[in-house]
Each structure stands twice: as C-alpha cells, then as structure tokens.
C-alpha cells in the first residue's frame, strides 16, 4: 500500500516533467521523483515497531530498523542537492539569455 503511494508520487513527477512547459516546473517534477525514490528506499529498511539500531549497555534489541538504507539515502539526498543547485543555476542563465522560462520558446537546437 505504502509502496503504491510512492509509485503515485513517482508518476506525478514523471507527468510533471513530460507535460509542463516551464523550466522551473520541470525541475520541481525531477525533485518529486527523487523524493519518491528516496522514500521507497527508506521504507525498504523500515520495520514495524522497530527502533534505532543503537546498542547500549544492558540492552538487547529485538526489532530494529535497518540503518544501511538511511545512510545511503543521506548520500542520495546530498547528490540530489548538487544536481538541483546546478539545474537551477543553468535555468537562471537560460532566463538571462532568453528572457523566458517557456520551453516552447527555447528552441535553438533541432534536427
């Protein structure tokens, strides 16, 4: 069920990229997809009623959350930050040159 919701978020992002004409909206669509993938990854490591995998003295942990996906998603988020920053920087430069965000007017390349 939860995975199905993630899939819906993924589809919304894909729709946004494919249909929207505004550069900024395309970037937002990409961010939505990225979040849905990160969410799926986190959910794979989740256990119901699980707790943080920290072993303190005198404790036994029976049911713990898998920490590896969390570490990986943290890395993926940092990578996502870098790409988003670069995308927005390029979108700003495009606005400087073309004075528009509309992709139907930004068409110097074809063929």
């Amino acid at each position: 069920m939860v995975y199905f919701l993630c899939f819906i978020i993924f589809s919304i992002g894909l729709y946004c990229i494919l249909v929207k004409r505004n550069l900024i909206k395309i970037i937002i669509g990409l961010i939505i997809i990225e979040y849905s993938v990160n969410l799926v990854f986190i959910l794979f490591g989740y256990r119901f009623a699980g707790r943080a995998p920290i072993l303190a003295a005198g404790q036994t942990i029976k049911n713990m959350v898998d920490p590896l996906p969390q570490a990986l998603v943290l890395t993926a988020i940092v990578i996502g930050l870098a790409t988003t920053a670069l995308l927005i920087a390029i979108a700003m430069r495009i606005y400087d040159r073309y004075k528009t965000f509309d992709i139907t007017e930004i068409r110097r390349l074809k063929g």
């Binding site: 993938v37 990986l72 040159r97």
Partner: protein, 497 residues
C-alpha cells in the same frame, strides 16, 4: 603497495590541487592535469600486467572485509577499460593545452575534467552497487557542467536537456539498486551475485533489469533514449565532446550494463533479445540520421549512436566471439571518435565554423588535420588495414555464426552508410578547391597536432591487438571476465582470501 585505489585518488587529488592553486598560477593547471593523466595511463598499463600475473585484485576500503565494507575490484574487464579511458583522456588533455586558451577559465575546465575522469575510473573499478551510483553521479554532474561551459544560448539549452534526461536515468538506476538491496540484503556486487544464484531470480530481477536497461540505456544513448546526445555532445568544447562521445557513454552506459547484466544479475534470453533489437535500431537509425547533417560535430554525434548500436548488438549476440568484438569495437570507437572530434575542434579553432557547407579544400592549408581525419574516417567505416575493420569483421562473423545472418548483413550495410557520410565529410571539408576566405587559415599549434597524430597512429596500430600474444594480454582477459558470467562472485571471493 596496492595500486587499485590510486585510480580514484589521483584524479580527485589533481582536481583538488588545480582548483586550489590553478587560479593564481598560470600554466600550472596544464602541467598538473597532463602529469595526472600520464600517471594514470602508466598505472593502468601496469594494472593489466598485475591482473595477468597475479589474478583479480580486491582492495578493501577502510580494511572492512567485502560483504560488509566497500570493495574495489580490478579484474580483466576493469583493467582493459582503465587503459581505454586513461590513454584517451591523456591524449585529450594534451590537445586541451592549446585549444582551451580561447576560453577564460582554463583551471575550471581542468578541475571538472579531472572530476569527470575520477568518476569514470570509480565506476570502472568499484565492486559495490551503491558506490557505482555515487561515482556515476560524480562523472555525470561534471559532464553537465562541462556541456554548458561556453554559456551561450545553445550550450545552456543542451545542458539543461541533458541534465533532466540524465537525472531521470540516475533515479531509475537508484530505484533499481534499492529494489535489488531489498531482495538480496547486500550491496556488494559479488555477494549480490552469490545470493541471486542461491535464491534464483524470482519475479523481481526481470523488473529490475528493465529499470537498469532504461537507466543505463539513457546514459549510453541507445536509440529510443538518444534524443539528448545529438544536442549535448556538439555543444561542449571539442575536447569534452571527445571525452563524452568517446568515453562517457561507454563507461556510464555500456560498461555498467555489461558488468551488472553479465556478472551480477545473470543475463536472460529475453534481455539478450531486447539488446539485439535496440542495437540494430540504433545502428541503422543513427547512421541514417547522420547522413543529413551539415554541422560536423552533430554528424559525429549521430555516428556515435550508430557505433554504440554495433556494440550493443554484439552484446546481444553474447557468444564469446561477439563479446570479443564488442570489447574491441568499444576500444576502437573510443580512439577514432576522439580523434574525429579533435579534428572537428581543430577545424573550428582555425576557421571558426562547424558548418560543412562553408568549408572546402582545407587540405591545402591544414594537411595534418586532413590526413589524421582521413585515417579516423576510414577506420570508423571499416577500411581493411585499420582497427575499425577488424572489430566490425568480428561482430559480423559472430552474428552470422550464431544464426543471425540478417543482422550481420544489416551491420555490413550500415558500415557502407558510415563510409558514405564520412566521405561526405571529407569531400566537403578537406577535398576540392580552397575557398577564397580560407586562404589565410593556419595549421593548429604543436600540442594539438601531437595529440591528433598519436591518436591516428593508435588507430592504425589497433589491428595488431588481435595478434596472438598481444590478444591474450589485452582483449582476451576482458572477454574472459565477461564470459564467466555469474562466476564473477566466486572469482572475486577467491581473491579476497
């Protein structure tokens, strides 16, 4: 001392030093970048002999034993790819010394260049699934920035298009890795392969295969996913076009595809059929689209799609002979496509135009560029003594021997089409009478000449790689690493002990 981590450490360290010191000291970025790539070339040739002598090398990052920690694996295929990448990158940095003078921020160019090289070497050498994704993103982000390096209208547009498509591909790959992790509870490629052999593929692996096929297919610009390439590759500065077309699509696309499908997931007949179909489509359509182009770099970019089609076709046939052909064609294409892009850069440097219709008779003023470009063109279209002939011959042979006679004939036909559009390039640019406005054109500076001549010499000599004795060291080891398939896990764990 273990040389395996140096392939990542050297380019990243050089990038760091260049960004730190390059702004103030003029000339230092050139020296640092060139010595860095030269060192990497020497190391990667050393790596081949290391693997030949001592078998597969595994480096444990931080000392953790592999299924738990991250590992770096140097086997026949990775050492072969390292030689291809670092040798070509070294020759391209030589070319950049003079070519990049016309841009203002040379040190930024070299920093991004070395970051991209570090990312590519990392993808090749890593033995860990998530690490592969991280290095892939390092190389990809550096390449997005390099495509937009000129910050003109076309370059920004191409870069934006490339970024959106490329990021989508990366997210598909990440989703595939997440699903694989949930199935196997491990990220180490060898361990993953072992679990998949023990548990069987189940229903998940076909789904993950499709995700990877889309993700790496976009990165490799196989035909239905090719739209970004024809914009992105011509827009970058010439050395970067050579890097992107010659190396990046092969490392991020083809190499990752080969490694994951053949060595980790285990290749299924349905996937092979998909590869055969996609390969044939991109081979034919790329060739046909290239004929109509008048922009020289755009023609070369479409030609890249066509040649990638040959490699994917050979991977789809998947007999040992076809794999040898795929690997050999990959090496050849890296060399001659870099050479041709550098030639186009040399023309642009001297005349300031990329439009074929405006050129003509440049052989009179730029004989060296003309000759090397002739060698590159003849090699890519498969004229006998040159390297491209042998690799295409092997692919066609393998296709016919395995019963795909029609595909073999199509491959020969596309080779003729390739010859057609490269003759058009020669005819428009170099042959014929010199136009009046190019009377004052000068040949390019020495370093650019040196780089082009060396690439042309390698183009002529690559046929020798098939000779017995040399073949065992270079191509056979890479082919064996692919043909063992899922035994990769056993071989890797053997060498950890």
């Amino acid at each position: 001392m273990n040389i395996v981590p140096l392939f990542v450490v050297v380019p990243l360290g050089t990038a760091f030093l260049i960004s730190l010191l390059g702004k103030r000291t003029k000339g230092l970025p050139d020296i640092l970048a060139n010595s860095g790539t030269l060192l990497l070339t020497v190391l990667s040739v050393g790596a081949i002999f290391l693997v030949k002598g001592a078998g597969v090398q595994v480096y444990k990052v931080g000392g953790w034993i592999p299924p738990i920690g991250i590992s770096m694996v140097l086997d026949g295929l990775s050492s072969f790819m390292l030689v291809t990448v670092n040798l070509t990158a070294f020759l391209i940095t030589i070319f950049s010394i003079s070519y990049m003078e016309k841009y203002t921020a040379k040190w930024k160019f070299y920093t991004l260049f070395m970051l991209m090289l570090g990312g590519m070497n990392g993808v090749i050498i890593t033995g860990d699934m998530f690490n592969l994704f991280v290095f892939l993103e390092i190389a990809a982000i550096a390449s997005y920035a390099l495509v937009a390096f000129g910050i003109e209208k076309e370059e920004l547009e191409a870069s934006f298009k490339y970024m959106v498509v490329g990021e989508l591909a990366s997210l598909f790959i990440l989703l595939g890795i997440a699903l694989l992790y949930s199935f196997t509870s491990t990220l180490n490629m060898a361990d993953m392969g072992r679990v998949l052999i023990a548990d069987g593929p189940g229903k998940l692996v076909p789904f993950v295969s499709v995700l990877f096929l889309v993700g790496f297919g976009i990165k490799a610009a196989i035909m239905p996913f090719h739209a970004w390439l024809a914009d992105a590759h011509p827009s970058a500065p010439a050395p970067i076009s050579a890097m992107l077309s010659g190396l990046l699509i092969k490392v991020l696309g083809i190499y990752a595809l080969m490694r994951i499908f053949f060595n980790v997931l285990g290749i299924a007949p349905s996937i092979l059929n998909i590869l055969l179909t996609l390969g044939t489509i991109s081979m034919v359509a790329g060739g046909l689209l290239a004929i109509g182009q008048s922009d020289i770099k755009r023609m070369l970019a479409y030609s890249s799609i066509s040649q990638i089609g040959y490699i994917v076709l050979a991977l789809g046939i998947a007999t040992p002979l076809a794999l040898l052909g795929a690997i050999f064609h990959l090496f050849n294409h890296a060399i001659f496509k870099s050479l041709l892009f550098l030639n186009s850069g040399a023309i642009e440097y001297s005349t300031g135009t990329r439009d074929l219709r405006q050129m003509g008779g440049l052989n009179a003023r730029m004989p060296l560029t003309g000759t090397t470009s002739l060698i590159g063109s003849m090699s890519i279209s498969g004229i006998p003594p040159l390297g491209g002939f042998w690799s295409k011959l092997i692919i066609v042979f393998a296709a016919i021997k395995s019963g795909h006679t029609i595909l073999g004939l199509i491959a020969i036909l596309v080779s003729i089409i390739t010859l057609g559009y490269y003759l058009k390039l020669q005819r428009y640019a170099f042959l014929g009478s010199l136009k009046d406005k190019w009377k004052g054109v000068l040949e390019v500076p020495f370093t650019m000449k040196l780089s082009m001549v060396m690439l042309a010499l390698i183009c002529i000599a690559t046929g020798a790689l098939l000779l017995p004795g040399i073949r065992e060291v270079f191509l056979k080891m890479a082919q064996d690493a692919l043909s063992i398939g899922q035994d990769y896990a056993a071989v890797t764990f053997e060498s950890i002990k």
